[in-house]
Amino acid sequence: MIPALLVFAYLGVVLYIGIFAFRRSRPSNREAEDYFLAGRGLGPLVFLLSLFGTNMTAFAILGSAGHAFANGVVTFGLMASSSAFVIPLTLFFVGTRVWALGRRHGFMTSVQMFRDRWECAHIGTVIFAIQAALLVPYIIIGVMGGGTALRAISGGFIPFWLGGAVVAMVVMSYVFFGGMRGTAWVNTFQTILFLSFGAIAVVVIGRGMGGFPAAIQSLRDTVDLAPLLTRERFSPLAFLSYTFIPLSTIAFPHITIFCLTARRMAQFRRTVIFYPLCILAIWLPCVFLGVAANAMHDVPRIAQKLEARRVLAAAPASLPADERAALRRLAAGDDVVPIMLEQYAPLWLAGILGAGIMAAVMASDSQILALSTMFTEDVFAFYGGKARFGEHIQVQTGRAFVVLLTVIAYAVAMQAPQGIFDLAVQYAFSGYSALSVLFFAALFWKRSTKWGALAVALWTAFAVFYTATTPGALAWFGLMPVVPMTLIAALLMIVVSLATTPPSAQTISRYSAPRPAT
């Protein structure tokens, strides 16, 4: 119970930071920009740490360790090192340009940029709807991660539904009061916490297990578990496919919007350089611990998972679907890191490290704020709400949207049957990877048109629905669906754009050669 109390203390600190930031917010004649973008004034350290923290969700700690528990060392190459290469590149090429255009034209969302770039209105609304629909599962992950983590940290004392509710309430509160400034400061604090978490957790757990070499040797000596130390169960083509997933990052609305919060473009330099190091610091310990957890046969909750996995592997095809789903739930490893901490760390340290885990699972704040920003800017303001009711009502509408969205996400999270990792990859990541084509076309291809953009958006919506409802869909030649989804999106952009009329030369010139503001 002591770790759970420490985690609650941590949640109190987070709330305080969010509300404190709100109080520091100065009166401004740009109320919306101040609430949704922190007045475009984030400093270098806050920008780096909060951007990284924004992109690290429950998936980074719980999902990665859980995936590594089931699939082995392949997890690091699949998601971490590919992200360390692709994400900084997209920030370098796309993020800086989005920032500059946002400064020059006052954009607060990517849809505003697309509407201006391709001289369209309702097509922008279609893109908004698809971006928003894809973001909701990501928000649900945060609630589910909160429930899973609090249940594990409290040793089952706090049920999943209550843990999820507590996390959702805390996040909703500081986003509601603090807006982007509060969210960014909370994310900075959380990132420092969970960057420290990895190293401390490895040392403590390593000592508790009697040294990692012994644990690895134990895995090597077990026929069923030895393949977890290599990638022999994973095809190279599927591995290659995963390098397409990090393309999704720049297309996530919360990341695009975050790019607009930097005070100066120079702040992207440090972020681009240090991003791979941050990935290394958080993912390597989590993946390793997830794999090493397989050696903990003597811990009843781990042994139960290993047994469920063994039964599942040997189960006949005729096994009823509900029994199979129950076994999958039992075998899932999303809570192995908290279990290891509970087993090997002293209570007070387990509490502090548990707070580090909470820091990662609470990254849904930026997604909630991003959806609120998109709704108020791309729909409410665009269709006349701002002109009719004023900027103050616009911000209040955004806050009401934050509450509504959190309640819906919580309700869905309590019903969702899938594991954190699967949910994220299947729906959000692949779809956003396909949508990244919109950014590259808007910024680097003069000939791109609004009809090309519409084709990409509709294809993405169809492909996500198709792959989510049809097992094995678009998994061509052993590749993951994200590859055909992204390549076909690019092809559609090219073919449809070439067949339709481009925007005016005046608009294109504004995007091809940015000039200082006047």
Binding site: G77, W99, R103, I216, R231, L284, P516
Partner: protein, 78 residues
């Protein structure tokens, strides 16, 4: 294309290709520090190589023309 730009494109392409380390696919050896299999230590080093590439990109290919917006904005705020 300038020679430095060509070098950067080649370096970026090479690093992408090096991610697909099929030569370490089925092996547990050599273990780094006695417990890290190649799939972890190699990709850990890969992250460091990515950092080096990003540092080089920001030093040699930084989009300075976009920064003019930055300075103009600061002038306007003053």
């Amino acid at each position: 294309m300038r020679p430095i730009a060509l070098l950067l494109v080649l370096a970026t392409g090479a690093l992408y290709a090096l991610h697909q380390d099929v030569w370490f696919w089925r092996t547990v050896e050599p273990l780094a520090f006695g417990f890290l299999p190649p799939a972890l230590w190699y990709h850990g080093l890969y992250c460091l190589a990515a950092t080096l590439l990003m540092w080089t990109l920001t030093r040699t290919a930084w989009p300075h023309h976009l920064e003019s917006d930055d300075r103009a904005n600061e002038d306007r705020q003053r």
